[in-house]
Amino acid sequence: MFLALRDLRRGVRRFMLLGVVIALVALLSTVLSGLATGLVTDGISGLRALPLDRLVFQEGSDATFSRSILRPADLKRFQQVQGVKATPLGASFVNAAPVDGGPSLDLSMFGVAADSFLVERADARAALAGPPGLVLASELQDQGVKVGDRYTVGGSSEEYPVLGFTFAGTYGHTPIAFVSLSTWRQIQYSNPDDDRFSAIAVQGDSPELAAAAADTSTVVLTKTQAYAGSPGFTAETTTMTLIRGFLLVISALVIGAFFTVLTVQRTRQIGLLKAMGASNAYILRDGIGQMAVLVTLATGVGVAVGAALVAVLSRGPAPVELAPRAIATVTLALIGAGILGSLFAFRRITQVEPAIALGVEP
């Protein structure tokens, strides 16, 4: 790298263009990662926050609550599994219209047993154990919803008061409303004593879960796998992954093109180095080292600026979130793309004839 570093330092202007392009790609990738993480959070933060490890769905339901219907016999089988706790969960999307008029709310309604591990806060537990009512995601408080407001929910004509707020987050980009399991059944099936529910929440892990699933024609998914059932989740993450993938391919091509031009421009210099007795390996090391330093520096700057931008944006309404792991992945992937792209260019180095140092075309 004797030559590469001095070349970079004294030829800053020549490398500036590529550096800026790589930095911009890194910036864009970082912001997109922030947006991807933010969208995921915006979509499933409620499910993510629930104190459960696994969810049991009906077979063939694709982790979609509305397609999954389970019965007490299924729950019983999972409750027999040693070392895990299992509790029923009802989940559905509903519309809640205020009795006193005003804008209605879209809610992701989770019916839970008040005494289950899903309800961690004592006040929420007490509220759900009492007369029917809604415990809403705290975001709704910002929209002017108050404790005591009354809503008719879904097709039911019953009126339900807002009992309180909790940090509940969202599912399917919709704020969560916790209700008791019987209230959920009343709204879903018009019968508080219906025994059906959507899924089983499981805490803990056991090899016996698979057997229980086989016995009950259900599937056991990890919490992360269950995110895919949230409306929009798969489409959003696929789109983001696609865009980031394209960015990587573009940066690999740009870096490859730049170093191809640079290598062609340097043909005579490479011939000179070969005439001086420098091996192909020596010249390749120099070129790859130069590219690695340039790409690392530019990526570092771009990621830093992008992270700062995400930090600022995350205070606003946009669903962005700073994710160190995603940023580390972006950084490494960009450097990897640079190496791949430049290897393509550096193949030419081995083809340069040393005779051109004397101006003789062989």
């Binding site: 030559l3 001095r6 030829g11 007795g277 420098a278 004397l358 101006g359």
Partner: protein
Amino acid sequence: MNHTTTALDVDGVRVAYPDGPDERVVLDSLDLRVAAGEMVVISGESGAGKSTLLTVAGLLRRPDQGEVTVAGTSTSGLSDRQRTTLRRDHIAFVYQSANLLPTLTALEQLELVGHIRGERSGTARARALALLDELDLGGRRNQLPGQLSGGERQRVGIGRAFMAQPTVLIADEPTASLDPERARTVVDLLSGAARERSIATLVVAHDDAPARAATRRLRLAGGTLHEVVEPATDRAAAGSVLGVGARVGTGG
């Protein structure tokens, strides 16, 4: 044909370039031997094949036929890699336009040679500094090529060649782009090094300056080398005579 004193031995070399459907023979059964301490100057018309001869002698290209032996090593059986190593250890070049790397200072141009040879950076630096002082370039060591005059650039180029501690030094028109005074300095450096460092020096030159200092003069014509008959006169006074000789030689 190996002699222990023969640093460079070019034996029966033939090089031809494709020329449409035919081929143009540039070098044909060419023999050349340069011993350590000798400075051989080759003249010849444009297109006579002087540069081609230098690329063959400098192991920059393989001849179609014949053998090149450098420092006692026959090269026809060597791989490209082995030829590169042999070049690194035994051959150095001086170019017409110095051919310096634009982003290295004068000192770094020399240090690079040490770096390519895997020399310790401290050792290379000390040798480079000593060489620059010797070449009267000590004060210019931190200048980039763009900040040096033509004569200084050429002296740095020569310093770079000396830095390689070569067995064979090959110079292609080293004085062509210099005024007479600077040309003389360069020629003195080359001939002095040939004598004092026992470098086998092979110079191609159109102009007279290198010819005056030559221990032997050859002319390339028709693919082979011919002795240039040198009037046995006092060299200091013979500049013009040699010039005439060279011209007569070229014309004949």
